[in-house]
Every structure is written in C-alpha cells, then in structure tokens.
C-alpha cells in the first residue's frame, strides 16, 4: 500500500491504495467516478474507456500507478461549466443509446478520435471504435453521432478537452 497520485478531470487526488490495482477500480471505488464501467476485465469491450493524455485507454487493464501524474478524463469530466461536449449532445439528439451501459466508453472513444481526426469518415469511425461493444446494437446511431459532433465542432462549437 502506498500513495498513488492521480490527476482526474483537472483535480489532483492522493489515494492510499495498492498501485497494482486497475485504474478502473480506483476510479470507481476510491473516487466514486462510476461513469467508467466494468464489462469484461480484459480490455475487449471498451465500457471502461477513459482518456489518458487525450487518448482512449481501457482502464480495466491499466494499473493505477502506471498513469500517475498524467491527465485523466472520465465521462464525468467531459461536461464543462454546464455545457455538454458536442458528442454528448449528439448522443442525446440522435438517441444513440439503449441501455446506456456502453455509452460513456463510446463517448470517450469518440472524443479521442475527434481529437486526432476532425472530420472522420464513417469507415474511420468504425475502425477507431471497433474495440467498443454495444450489445443493444446501436452502432449506426453512434457512427452518426460522432459525425454530427464533428460537424458541430467544425461549425464553431466548443473545442475539445
């Protein structure tokens, strides 16, 4: 047991935990940031996705002590001063969810993609998000939501994180 320093959603946390624990379990159980979900524990479903240095990371297979000091963004940190991220807005506008369990991981994977690629084609979205599973099968709406958010950002919506 030692202190692990995590920088999550712009706030520094000093947490006394076993640093070998997964980032997912530390976020959820120690910081009560429950937006990232457990879905498989092997980095195969993407429900646990968070952003580390702006890149989509599977927090269930990431050790907490491996991301010390690096900026981490969870779904809870995406909304800024009451304003949703354009991709969150697009998910709502297009009803790109059913049960919603995969949604935070989907949104963060999409946000990471949009940071790298301002106008992704649907083929690029499919390739980038292949690691995220939606068992309810809302994939076409998610692709449409990413494209709508890209358009909105292009048109001068709030910039990314």
């Amino acid at each position: 047991m030692r202190v692990v320093e995590l920088q999550v959603n712009g706030t520094k946390h000093r947490i006394e935990v076993d640093g070998e624990r997964s980032l997912l379990s530390v976020l959820r159980d120690e910081l009560d940031l429950i937006g990232a979900k457990y879905g498989c524990g092997e980095g195969q479903c993407g429900a646990c996705t968070v952003l580390v240095d702006g890149r989509a990371v599977r927090s269930c297979v990431t050790r907490a002590n491996s991301v010390e000091g690096r900026p981490i963004v969870t779904i809870e940190g995406l909304e800024q001063r009451g304003r949703l991220h354009p991709l969150q807005q697009a998910f709502l506008a297009l009803d790109a969810l059913q049960c919603g369990y995969c949604t935070s991981g989907m949104i963060l994977s999409g946000v990471a993609l949009l940071e790298k690629n301002k106008q992704p084609t649907s083929a690029e979205i499919v390739r980038a998000m292949e690691g995220n599973i939606c068992r309810c099968g809302t994939y076409p709406r998610i692709v449409a939501a990413v494209q709508q958010a890209a358009k909105q950002k292009q048109a001068g919506g709030r910039g990314g994180q």
Partner: protein
C-alpha cells in the same frame, strides 16, 4: 393427416419465461394500509384495478389459476399527482434499454394532457410499485402502456371534476391541456397543482374509454430518451455503481466444472487477510472484503477440491438433443399426390449467450430483519419470491429495487446475484455488493436453448405446399407454428435433456423456428425454380405478413440484378408476439477467404399503432444487429463441464464493422392496438442471411451460427 399439432404445442407453456411465480399480490387493502398519502403527501391518487390481469398472465405464460386469488382487487398501476402538480406513475415494469421509461411517460402525458417533463416514472420497486410478473414477452406496450393510459385518463377526469367544482361550472365547459384545466369561454385556468393542493383524493377505477391512436399527440411522436442526460454524463447508477454506507464487496467460489461436488475446501489463508470474512454454508463459499480487489485476493487464496462427472461437449450436442428427447417423432409425412416434390432437412441451432454488458450484480442490505436488494433483473417480484424462499422471510420483508439496467435480452429473469449478495450481507452484517465477472456471466447465467429442427414437406408443381411436418427438439415452441396456409401440417415440440442451463432469450425459440422454416421455404422455392418471394406470397394468406414482406421486397428492390459476382440476396419473414417482420439481406461471399460479409439489410416491421417511431426504429435496428451475431458467428462452446469461450476475446459478438447498411420500414397501423417490438424484429435476420449466402455461393447452410469460421463448401 389431422392437424393435431398446434393445440398441443401451444399448450406447452414457454418454460423459459416462467420459472416459479409469486403467490403474493398487492391488494387494495394493503395499499390503503401503506397509507400512500402519508408517504407521498396529499394530492390525487388513481389506482387502476385491473380485472383481467390474471387472465392475461395465464395466456401469456401458462399460469394455472389459483382458486381464491383476489381478482377483483388486482391492481395494474397507480398514479399520483402531488400537491405541487408533480406526476408520479408507478409500474412494476423495468427499464433494460428498451426505453419503456420514455414510451410509458409518453402514454401518461398523452392521456393526462400534461407535459412529459412533469411526469416521473417509478419502476420495478417491489415496495412502491404494483405487482408485475416481469418485463418480458413484449408485453409492456400492449399491456402496461394500456394500463397507464387508463390510470392517466381517469386522473384527467378527476382533475376536470375538481376544476368544475372549483370554478363552479359544468364539467363539459372545461378542457384539460398542458397540465392545466381551462375554461373554454373565459380561458380561466387552474394548474393541476392548484387543483390537487390540499386534496387527499383516492380514486379506484376499472376501464376507461381510451383515445384512439389516430388522436394521439405526444404518443406516436419521437421523444428523446427521458433519462438520457444522466446516462451520457455518467451520473446514472446501474446496480454495480451503487454504494451503501459501510458496504463490503463480495465474491463467490465457483466450481471448476458444472455439476461438481465439493470434496474439500481450505479457507484459512483467505480468512487471515485483513478485513476479509469467509462464509461457508455447505458447498456455498463466499468472501467479503472492504474492496473488490481484496475480495478477489481472498478468493484466490481459497483452495478447494471438486469432483466432476463426465459431460458431453458441443460436438455431440445435436445427436444428444435428438436422441435424448422425451418424445420422438410420432409419424412421418404420409400420402402426397404423386407429382409432389418432397423435401426433408435438419437444422441445428447452437447455444448462445445474452452477454448483457452489465453483468449480473446486486447490492444487499439487511435492516432489522428486513432485506433490501438492488439488482438488475427483468422480474423484480420473481426475485423477491426467490429471496423470500431462500431466507424464509415473508415477502413483505423483502424489497427488490431495480435501477435502470444495462440490458437483459431475456437473460436476467433470475436472482442468482441477489441471493448470493444477500447471503454474504447476512453473514457480514453489513451491506454487500456482488458483481459477477464476465467469465461468471458467460458460465453461470443461462443460455438461449440449442435445438434441432427437422422438417418434412411436400409441394405441388404449381408451388402450393401440400404437407408440412415440423419437429423442434429442445429449442422451444415460440414461433413454431407456420404462418403459411397449409392444410396438412403437423408441428411438435419435443423437450430434451439440455446439457447447459437454458432460459429466455430475445424472441425465445422464435429465432430458431423461423430460421429453420424460412430456410426450408427457400429450399422449396429453389426446388421448384420459383422466386422465393413469389413462392412465399403464393402460400401466404395473412395480410399483415404479406404487407411487410412486400414492403421489404419493394424497398430492397427484390429481383434486381446482382451488384457483382459473389453477391447474394435473401429474404425471410415471420410473425411473433403480435408483430410482423420481413428482412431482405445482401451478402458478399469471398470464396478465396471463405468469408461472408452482410452488406445490407432492409427490414419492414409492423406492430399495430406506433407509440414512439424513433424508439421503435432503434429497437428494430438493435434487434437486427444483435440477430446478426447469432446468425453469423455467436456460439457457446463447451466440453467436460466447462465453457470454452467465456470471454469477449473468445466469444465473438457483433461490433461496429459487422454492421451492414440498415434500412428500416415501419408500417403504422393506427387502426390496430400497439404490440411490443423488443423481440419480433430479430426473427427474420438469420434466415434472410442464410438464404442470401445460398444465393451467392450455392452452399446451403442449415446450422446457426452460419459461418463461425467463414463458409465452407461441403
């Protein structure tokens, strides 16, 4: 040949949707005892006494009537309008992604003449909501939607009466709109809150005339998911996200193989770990710890020896199901006219897993001998019964609360995690959370039944089916009956010895039965060199099914030339749970790579009057995408009492790249009552894809999944 079949098969109740049921129902007296007004404050409360709820549940689920059950005081729903005008509706249904929280809110808004934003739905809480058998069988829209409409309509009438009294005018001179009662001539208005203030009015009602679909306003329009914002901001708490003061984390020891007997167990090392408590009760061994990580470490420190028995593998499955059936095929197809072509084929259907992204989970808490469990289940009252039996508690002392849940697809009818968490919480004397791992979910939940289907048929040279004999081993009897007009038919379901635990799945056995039937129809059409669409229409009298078949074919451009070599087109249709569906699929078969890609699917669907068009489209698309998994590659492999592929890295589910271009045609029948839509749209996708693969390659595939490793030329 007599048409003996169907009576027999229809009486074979849907085992998988059933299991045991609660003997407990909320009666009006109890409701009064609960003193709702004390709990909720004053206002207007409408209680819907649902006279035929029992009859409907019997039909829907094969229940036997218990003499003396209090039919007259059955409650279907209740609705409360608080003194500030806030509307709360209570239903025992649960939200598992089918978005009934939205469609039911819409139904209430429509009848109450109130804004959707003013309406809150309390769902699946056994202390607060009326008894409900469960959220399955596509019953919510035809049943609960209607019940809530009735309650809301009665509440509106009560408000109109209150308004008339207050304004001292005739009831007929008032209208209700936008959460207000308005006097037609003077436009004087009173809000619902102004009318309910100071009231403690309870009204019990039966039937109310409902607005025909043609006059719907809120319903029938697209409405965004009412709880959507909480989900996209990560605020919504699913069961695994709940926390209770002092809560511990639990884990349960699983045997290495099915049906194993515990020989010995050593928990000493685990019990020495800080904060860890071990519970041993017969062969049930579980641990609790302050963190999930520590619970996992404790579990890893337990040494147990088990004895297993020989068990069959997936390779022997189909012979096992057929040979081990309780009844065998009674007779083979008899006399046909001599010129008729005959065809006999066997179709196999694999076990598949629901794999809901939220695994089974529960938080259990004991307070003064009363048990409260939060868990994601489709049967809150059924799970309450399970808990009451296991712990010998009166049902009134058990409360089950279902947070909106990370999907079910028929896979969450049982209360395993609830019972396990409650056992651990009882021993630890603290609240305990238990979340199944993905591997546990893939291994210890239940599967969609595997099955073998045998079809013998005959068809005359003009394309009329003259005989049809259909035997289903183990899959189940949903959708077993042919929708085609065939005078001479025999249909039977044979129960068999299932090596794996099996249960409900989206559409139940209808996916299996439709796959076999619609592939067989395709085979018959090709035997006669007839167009598969024309052949179906020739044998089909059901106008609603004809309509979706023709709508899908038209939108797809059925009969068009192939886009390129290797492309194939397939069509299939079916009816289930009051819905009608037809799908046309286009595939590309890559002979070199033995790969198949589904590139386009057109689905036409009709389920009576449409309540929420966008929600319905979402359900249809979701069913098609999910159905593609079972059609193409999903299969549970097992041997020696173990599941061989209990992880997403080994069990392939549809991902982004598997999704074809989807087109959905919704037929809105405003003249017909709405039916549910969560299940039916899944039944036509597998046969349409199988038929398209044949069209592309000439290879007839008769097993689901069709191409787990790419198609093979036999």
């Amino acid at each position: 040949m007599s048409q003996k079949s169907t009576g027999e098969t229809l009486l074979e109740h849907e085992r998988y949707e059933l299991a045991e049921d609660s003997a407990y129902r909320v009666a009006l007296g109890e409701l009064v005892r609960r003193d709702f007004f004390k709990v909720l404050g004053g206002g207007v409360l409408v209680v819907l006494l649902f006279k035929d709820v029992l009859a409907q549940q019997e039909t829907g689920a094969g229940r036997r009537h218990r003499p003396g059950s209090p039919r007259s005081s059955e409650i279907g729903a209740w609705l409360h309008i608080a003194e500030d005008g806030a509307v709360t509706t209570y239903t025992g249904k649960v939200e598992v992604g089918q978005d009934i929280r939205t469609s039911l809110t819409q139904a209430v808004a429509e009848e109450l003449h109130a804004p959707t934003a003013s309406i809150k739905l309390v769902m699946g809480d056994t202390d607060l909501t009326p008894y409900d058998m469960g959220t399955f069988g596509s019953r919510t829209t035809p049943q609960m939607n209607r019940q809530l409409r009735e309650a809301a309509a009665a509440a509106r009438e009560t408000l109109l009466e209150l308004g008339a009294e207050r304004m001292k005018v005739e009831r007929a001179s008032l209208v209700a709109a936008d959460g207000k009662i308005i006097r037609r001539d003077t436009r004087q208005t009173l809000s619902y809150g102004q009318l309910t203030k100071g009231q403690r009015l309870m009204k019990a009602i039966g039937e109310t005339p409902l607005k025909p679909a043609a006059q719907w306003q809120a319903a029938g329009q697209a409405l965004h998911k009412v709880a959507g914002r909480d989900i996209i901001t990560g605020k919504h708490r699913y069961t695994p996200d709940l926390k209770r003061p002092g809560m511990l984390y639990g884990k349960v020891l699983r045997p290495p193989v099915f049906d194993a007997t515990m020989v010995s167990v050593d928990t000493r090392a685990a019990a020495k770990l800080p904060g860890v408590r071990v519970l041993r009760d017969g062969s049930f061994v579980g641990v609790t710890a302050p963190t999930e990580h520590q619970a996992g470490q404790a579990m890893a420190a337990i040494r147990a020896e088990w004895q297993g028995a020989a068990q069959i593998s997936h390779k022997e499955l189909y012979d096992h199901l057929r040979d081990g059936a309780a009844t065998s095929r009674a007779s083979s197809l008899t006399s046909n006219r001599s010129g008729d072509a005959r065809l006999a084929q066997i179709y196999n259907i694999a076990y598949i897993a629901h794999a809901p992204l939220e695994p089974r989970a529960a938080v259990a808490e004991w307070t003064d001998g009363k048990l409260t469990v939060w868990t994601g289940t489709q049967r809150p009252f059924g799970v309450r019964s399970e808990l009451s039996r296991v712990f010998g508690l009166a049902e009134e002392r058990v409360r089950v609360i279902v947070p909106d849940t990370g999907s079910g697809y028929g896979g969450k009818h049982t209360g395993e995690a609830a019972i396990e968490a409650a056992r651990l919480a009882k021993a630890a004397r603290k609240p305990v959370k238990l979340v199944w791992s993905r591997e546990e979910e893939f291994t210890w939940a239940y599967f969609r039944p595997a099955g073998v289907i045998e079809i013998h048929s005959a068809v005359n040279p003009g394309g009329t089916i003259t005989a049809w004999e259909f035997h289903n081993y183990n899959s189940g009897s949903s959708g077993i009956r042919s929708p085609y007009a065939i005078a001479n038919q025999q249909t039977r379901f044979h129960s068999a010895d299932s090596p794996l635990r099996q249960g409900s799945y989206r559409g139940l056995a209808a996916t299996a039965n439709h796959f076999a039937r619609e592939v067989h129809m395709d085979e018959l059409a090709h035997t006669l060199s007839m167009d598969p669409l024309a052949f179906r229409l020739k044998n089909l009298q059901d106008q609603r099914l004809r309509a979706v078949l023709q709508a899908a074919a038209k939108a797809f451009g059925w009969g068009k030339a192939k886009a390129a070599p290797g492309h194939g087109y397939g069509i299939a249709c079916g009816t289930e749970k009051g819905g009608y569906v037809a799908s046309c699929a286009e595939v590309i078969a890559d002979r070199a790579a033995s790969g198949v890609k589904v590139v386009g699917v057109v689905t036409a669907f009709e389920c009576g009057a449409i309540v929420n068009p966008d929600g319905l489209k979402n359900q249809v698309e979701g069913a098609v995408v999910q159905g593609l998994g079972g059609a193409l590659f999903e299969v549970v492999e097992f041997a020696g009492g173990k599941i061989l592929n209990p992880r997403f890295s080994r069990y392939r589910v549809p991902r982004f790249s598997d999704v074809p271009k989807l087109r959905t045609i919704l037929l809105d029948r405003r003249d017909l009552p709405p039916a549910g839509a969560g299940e039916c749209p899944i039944v036509a996708i597998a046969p349409s894809v199988g038929n398209a693969i044949f069209d592309a390659t000439g290879v007839r595939l008769r097993s689901l999944p069709l191409v787990p490793n790419g198609y093979q030329r036999s």
